[in-house]
C-alpha cells in the first residue's frame, strides 16, 4: 500500500536517509536524556528510601518519647502543654526545572521552635516533653522533606516514562520503517540499474553484432 505510493527515486532515497539520520540522532538524544533522568531518579529514589527509613526511625522514637512523657508526666501535663504550644507552619510550593522538566518544590518555614515560643514555663513541663516535641518536630521536618522529594520523584517517573515511550517509538517503529523504506527504494533503484545495465549490455551487444555484420560485409 505504502510501497505503491513510494516513488522510488534517488531524491526520495536521499530524503529518507536524511529522515533516518534524524530519527537516529533523536533517539540517541532521548536515550541520553533518559539516562540523565534515570540517574537523577536513582539519586532521588535513594534519598526517598533513606528518608523513609529515617522517618520511620524518628517516628518510632517520637512515639516512644511521647509515650514516656504521657506516662511519666501525666497526660494532663503533656496534652495541655501541647495545647499551649500548638501553632501553624508556613508552607509554599513553587516550580523548579530539571533537564527542562518542571517540578514542584516545597518550601516551608521553620518547624522547630525554641523553648520560649512553646509558651509554657519550664517548671510546669519537663525535659521529656521537650524531647518529645523536638522529636516530633524532626519527624515533621523529615516528612516535609520527604514529601518534596516524593513529588520530584513522581515527576521524574512520569518524565522517564514519556521519554522511554518516545525512544521506543523511534527505535521500534519509526527507524525500522525508515530503514525498510530506504532499503526498498534502494532495492528498486538497484533493480532498475541492473535492468538498465542489462539493457545497455544488450544494446551494446546488438550494436557490436551489427558492426560485425557490417564489417564482414
Amino acid at each position: 500500500m505504502f510501497l505503491e505510493q513510494l516513488t522510488a527515486t534517488r531524491s526520495e532515497l536521499l530524503a529518507r536517509r536524511g529522515q533516518l539520520e534524524l530519527a537516529r540522532r533523536g533517539r540517541d538524544l532521548l536515550e541520553d536524556k533518559r539516562d540523565q533522568l534515570m540517574k537523577e531518579f536513582r539519586k532521588v529514589a535513594d534519598l526517598v528510601l533513606s528518608g523513609e527509613g529515617a522517618l520511620d526511625q524518628v517516628a518510632g522514637a517520637a512515639r516512644r518519647a511521647l509515650a514516656d512523657a504521657e506516662a511519666f508526666d501525666g497526660p494532663d501535663v503533656v496534652r495541655s502543654a501541647a495545647a499551649v504550644g500548638g501553632s501553624g507552619i508556613f508552607l509554599e510550593a513553587h516550580p523548579v526545572y530539571i533537564m527542562g522538566v518542571r517540578i514542584a518544590d516545597i518550601e516551608y518555614g521553620p518547624v522547630r521552635r525554641s523553648l520560649v515560643d512553646r509558651g509554657y514555663t519550664l517548671t510546669g513541663t519537663s525535659a521529656r516533653i521537650d524531647r518529645a516535641s523536638e522529636l516530633f518536630e524532626t519527624e515533621l521536618e523529615l516528612a516535609l522533606e520527604l514529601a518534596a522529594r516524593e513529588l520530584r520523584l513522581r515527576r521524574l517517573v512520569e518524565e522517564i516514562a514519556t521519554t522511554t515511550r518516545r525512544v521506543n517509538a523511534l527505535e521500534n517503529i519509526v527507524i525500522p520503517q525508515l530503514e525498510r523504506e530506504t532499503s526498498m527504494i534502494l532495492a528498486v533503484l538497484d533493480e532498475r540499474e541492473r535492468q538498465d545495465r542489462f539493457r545497455l549490455k544488450r544494446a551494446k551487444a546488438q550494436r557490436a553484432h551489427r558492426m560485425n555484420m557490417a564489417g564482414l560485409r
Partner: protein, 353 residues
C-alpha cells in the same frame, strides 16, 4: 505522735494490694488494650475501670481508670487522718491543685476547645471533682480565675499571685505569665509551710528536694536553650528549695556543662552527683531527668518501707507509690497500643522489683 496509727495501718495493709511484678508481666502480655483492661478489672482497679469503660475509647479509657483510682486513693489518704496530719498531707497533695489549675488554664486559653478535660484532672488536694469540672466548664481563663477567687481555692497565696499576673496575661495573651505565677505561688506556699512547720521532718525535706529538682531541670533546660532565649524568660526559679534562686539564675551565664556542674557542687543531694556527671558526658537532659525522677521515686518508696512506721513517712510513701503505679500503668498501656518492646517496658517500670 498519736494519730498515725489508724491511717498508717490502713495504708500498710493497702500497700499489699499494690500491683506487683507478676501483675505487670501479665498486663504486658495482653495483646490489646481491652485485654489489659479486662485483666486489670479483676483487681483493685475494678471499680475505676467499670466507670471508665462506658465513657471513653482507647487510651483515654486507661487514663480515666488510672485517674479515678488515683483520685480516690489520694482522697482516702486524707480521709484516714485528722487535724494537723491531714493538713500536712493536704499540703503535699496540693501539688495536684497547681497541676490541675495549670491544665485547666492552658486548655481554656485555646481558641478551639479540643478534647475533654475530664480524663485529665486528678482530684486530689483542695479542689474536688465538682470544683474541677465547674472550672473546666468555664468559657475562658478569666472566668475560671474569677471562680477560684470567689471560692478562695485552693489557697489565698495562689489566688493573690494569679490575680497579679492576670493583667499581664490579658495584655499579651502569654500563658507562661500565668503559669509562672502559679508555679511561683506554689513555691511561696512551700516557704510559708516550711517556716510554719514545727519540725524539719521528712515532709519538709521532701518538698525541698522536689523544688530543687524542678529548679535544676528548669535551669538546665534554660541553659541548653540559652542561645534561643531572647525576650521572655521561660524559667523563673521556684522558691522553697534549698538552693537559692540566684544560683539558678547564674547558671544561664555559664557556658560549659562541666562548669555548670562545678557551680552546683555541694549544693545538691549527693545522690544526684552520679546522674549529673553522666549528663556532662552525654548531654541528654531527658536522661538526667529520668534518672533523677526514678531516684526520687525509689527513695519515696523506700521511705514507706524504712521510715518511721508511726510517722508521716508512711502516707507520703504511699502517695508516691500510688503515683508511681499510675505512671507504670500508663506506660504499660502505651506499650500495648504503640507496640513498644515489652521487655524494655517492663524494665522501665518503677518500684516493681
Amino acid at each position: 505522735m498519736i494519730g498515725y496509727e489508724y491511717g498508717n495501718t490502713r495504708l500498710r495493709v493497702r500497700a499489699g494490694r499494690l500491683l506487683d511484678a507478676d501483675v505487670y508481666r501479665g498486663l504486658l502480655s495482653s495483646a490489646t488494650l481491652d485485654g489489659m483492661l479486662g485483666r486489670l478489672a479483676g483487681g483493685p482497679y475494678g471499680r475505676a475501670i467499670e466507670s471508665a469503660l462506658g465513657r471513653y475509647r482507647g487510651l483515654h479509657r486507661l487514663d480515666e481508670a488510672v485517674r479515678i483510682h488515683l483520685s480516690r486513693q489520694l482522697a482516702d489518704v486524707l480521709a484516714f487522718y485528722s487535724g494537723e496530719i491531714r493538713d500536712r498531707l493536704r499540703f503535699y497533695e496540693s501539688r495536684w491543685d497547681v497541676r490541675n489549675i495549670r491544665t485547666i488554664l492552658r486548655t481554656l486559653n485555646q481558641p478551639v476547645r479540643g478534647e475533654a478535660l475530664g480524663p485529665l484532672l486528678v482530684a486530689a488536694g483542695s479542689l474536688d471533682e465538682a470544683a474541677l469540672s465547674e472550672l473546666a466548664n468555664q468559657n475562658d481563663v478569666r472566668a475560671a480565675m474569677d471562680l477560684l477567687a470567689v471560692w478562695q481555692l485552693p489557697s489565698p497565696t495562689v489566688i493573690r499571685r494569679l490575680r497579679h499576673a492576670m493583667p499581664g496575661f490579658l495584655q499579651t495573651g502569654d500563658m507562661s505569665i500565668l503559669e509562672a505565677a502559679l508555679d511561683g505561688s506554689f513555691g511561696d506556699s512551700i516557704v510559708d509551710f516550711v517556716s510554719g512547720a514545727r519540725s524539719a521532718d521528712s515532709l519538709v525535706s521532701l518538698l525541698h528536694e522536689e523544688v530543687d529538682r524542678l529548679n535544676l531541670m528548669g535551669a538546665l533546660r534554660r541553659h541548653r536553650a540559652a542561645r534561643e532565649v531572647t525576650h521572655a524568660d521561660p524559667f523563673v526559679a521556684m522558691a522553697g528549695g534549698r538552693v537559692s534562686a540566684q544560683v539558678w539564675a547564674e547558671l544561664a551565664e555559664v557556658d560549659d556543662r562541666v562548669d555548670v556542674v562545678a557551680q552546683l557542687d555541694g549544693l545538691l543531694p549527693g545522690a544526684w552527683r552520679g546522674p549529673l556527671a553522666a549528663w556532662v558526658e552525654h548531654g541528654e537532659l531527658w536522661v538526667l531527668e529520668g534518672e533523677l525522677d526514678d531516684a526520687a521515686t525509689e527513695a519515696g518508696i523506700a521511705r514507706f518501707r524504712l521510715g518511721d512506721p508511726l510517722g508521716i513517712d508512711v502516707p507520703l510513701g504511699f502517695i508516691i507509690r500510688k503515683e508511681a503505679e499510675a505512671r507504670n500503668l500508663r506506660l504499660v498501656g502505651r506499650a500495648i497500643v504503640y507496640d513498644l518492646a515489652r521487655e524494655d517496658t517492663f524494665d522501665r517500670l518503677i518500684g516493681v522489683r
